[in-house]
């Protein structure tokens, strides 16, 4: 498996799964993603361990997920915006 995977044009389903990963990295529930998280089930390939989510540049729309020995790069401005909102306490 490649050390760095890039996910672009995230599907809604992937977006929701990634939102769950983002929530796992922080204590603040995403809004309005919190309601999505309640209905999103783990997919077959979902991570089975802790994940670190990292937004290197808050203007970029890119989220980096550190999992195992890999980095998954998610390009999704909506997801990043929601995480940034959550990080800002909103």
């Amino acid at each position: 498996m490649k050390a760095v995977e890039i996910v672009t044009d995230t599907s809604r389903r992937k977006l929701l799964a990634a939102a769950g990963a983002g929530a796992a990295a922080g204590a603040v529930a995403l809004a309005p993603g919190a309601s999505y998280a309640a209905v999103t089930k783990a997919s077959r390939g979902s991570a089975q361990e802790g994940v670190v989510a990292y937004i290197q540049d808050h203007r970029s729309g890119t989220l980096r997920l550190m999992v195992g020995e890999r980095e998954v790069v998610v390009n999704d401005r909506d997801l990043v915006a929601r995480i940034l909102n959550a990080a800002g306490g909103k």
């Binding site: 050390a3 760095v4 802790g50 994940v51 670190v52 990292y54 550190m66 020995e69 890999r70 980095e71």
Partner: protein
């Protein structure tokens, strides 16, 4: 220092901090090449109860370029893991450690060795025991025996990973006090009485990874080289340490967790390059860069800051060096490309035009029966900068090179200043003597046996 604490970020991460690289044909087994990478600088021998050990969360690697492209064609990869056999004691050991599998050693460390060639990884050995640190006569009563037990067979070669005495020597206290060399104190811009050099590494240990492999395992054609002029006789060597990209403190376990891909955080080949030639703002990036991309740093070798400082720090001593306005083709050859044929009769260690900091070793040159620690400049072609042996006085060689002593080799119009061939920091190796057998560095100083140094505030 060769590369001890040489960059802001790695200075905070000693477990991943490479300090020295050595590469030489083994004097007693000349069909073998020995590669040594040292880590974890400035180990005070009595630094218990948590004595020094390799990082379980670090990948240590020794790289070899043999295709003339300055890329890692072959590497030897080392991964460590530490056992804690008795978590209820504060002690490193609960009795004498008389063998490396002693139950009295509470934190035994083990490692694996893998060979990576063209991206394909082959595991060579697993669960090889390291020796303990040299604690003292009660805890490690026969350290030489422990050390010997930690030399393991590896195919046709050998491997060792553990604590040794640091063989590097330099006058740290003086060099970093405005570029002073104690033997020439009176000529300094801020003069003090001349005096002998003081080895700043005296009394300190390092952790050493040493591997001895058949030469034909590291050459591009898989053969033992015999022609000094053949490009295939030359290898480039460097070491790296990698950490995972993310490190986060788990407040449930009170330990750090690492996640993500492995990123290079330390690298080292020629001594003093990142230390002295690369400016502060670029040192961390240099540590994160592969040698084949060193072109971006080459300006610091072509126009080294230290060469400009010497005439300022030692007024009137380096007038010819002060007037020299061209790029330093001598330093580029020595440090970044290797020395091409025709510069020194009967010698070359050129690896092609790619500017890359590597220790270059022409494997067709046999070991010298009576080595000269000034290496190639003293007529001993088996020594630095043709590879590097543990006893090579690399500080003196590089100081003289930067001062212009070797510049006439590539620019006949330059006359070196008289001082260029005399400069030295005045130090010699004062730790345990190196050995002429594997793993070559001397036994580490013991915690009980080693007396702390003295300090003065003024």
């Amino acid at each position: 220092m060769s590369s001890h604490r040489e960059a802001p970020e790695i200075a905070k991460d000693p477990v991943a901090d490479s300090t020295d690289v050595y590469a030489f044909r083994s004097p007693k087994n000349p069909n073998m090449v020995t590669l040594i990478a040292n880590y974890i600088p400035f180990q005070k021998p009595d630094g218990g109860p948590n004595f020094f050990e390799f990082g379980d969360d670090v990948i240590y690697e020794i790289h070899i370029a043999n295709s003339g492209k300055s890329k890692s064609d072959i590497s030897y990869q080392f991964r460590f893991f530490t056992q804690v056999t008795n978590p209820k004691t504060f002690l490193y050991n609960i009795g004498p450690i008389e063998s490396i599998d002693s139950k009295n050693w509470i934190r035994p460390q083990f490692y694996s060795v893998a060979r990576v060639k063209n991206g394909k990884k082959t595991m060579l050995a697993e669960k090889l025991p390291c020796p303990p640190c040299n604690v003292g006569p009660r805890s490690t009563p026969n350290y030489a025996a422990l050390s010997k037990q930690a030399v393991h067979k590896l195919g046709k070669g050998k491997v060792f990973a553990g604590q040794r005495a640091d063989a590097f020597h330099v006058d740290l206290g003086s060099v970093f006090d405005l570029g002073a060399l104690r033997p020439f104190n009176e000529a300094h811009l801020i003069p003090l009485p001349n005096m002998k050099g003081v080895n700043g590494l005296q009394g300190f240990n390092v952790h050493s990874i040493a591997i001895e492999v058949p030469i034909e395992e590291v050459t591009r054609d898989g053969k033992m080289p015999s022609d000094v002029a053949d490009a295939g006789s030359v290898i480039g060597v460097w070491t790296t340490a990698k950490r995972q990209k993310s490190r986060i403190f788990n407040d449930n376990t009170a330990k750090y967790e690492s996640k993500g891909p492995w990123e290079q955080v330390s690298r080292l080949a020629n001594p003093l390059v990142n230390e002295v030639l690369i400016p502060m703002a670029d040192k961390d990036e240099w540590n994160h860069t592969a040698p084949r991309f060193d072109r971006r740093f080459a300006k610091n070798v072509k126009r080294p800051e230290l060469a400009a400082l010497l005439p300022v720090l030692y007024p009137g001593v380096f007038p010819n060096l002060a007037k020299y306005g061209k790029d330093r083709a001598d330093l580029i050859a020595i440090l970044m490309t290797g020395i091409p044929s025709g510069v020194i009769p009967g010698f070359q260690n050129y690896t092609g035009p790619v500017e890359a900091d590597m220790v270059r070793l022409n494997l067709a040159i046999p070991p010298t029966a009576k080595p000269n620690n000034l290496g190639l400049v003293a007529g001993d072609a088996a020594g630095f900068p043709n590879g590097r042996r543990p006893d090579d006085d690399v500080v003196t060689v590089e100081l003289r090179a930067i001062a212009g002593a070797l510049l006439p080799l590539v620019d006949k119009s330059f006359t070196p200043d008289a001082a260029a061939s005399a400069v030295t920091d005045g130090t010699k190796q004062t730790n345990a003597r190196t050995k002429n057998t594997f793993p070559f560095l001397g036994l580490p100083g013991g915690g009980y046996q080693t007396k702390p140094g003295t300090t003065k505030a003024s």
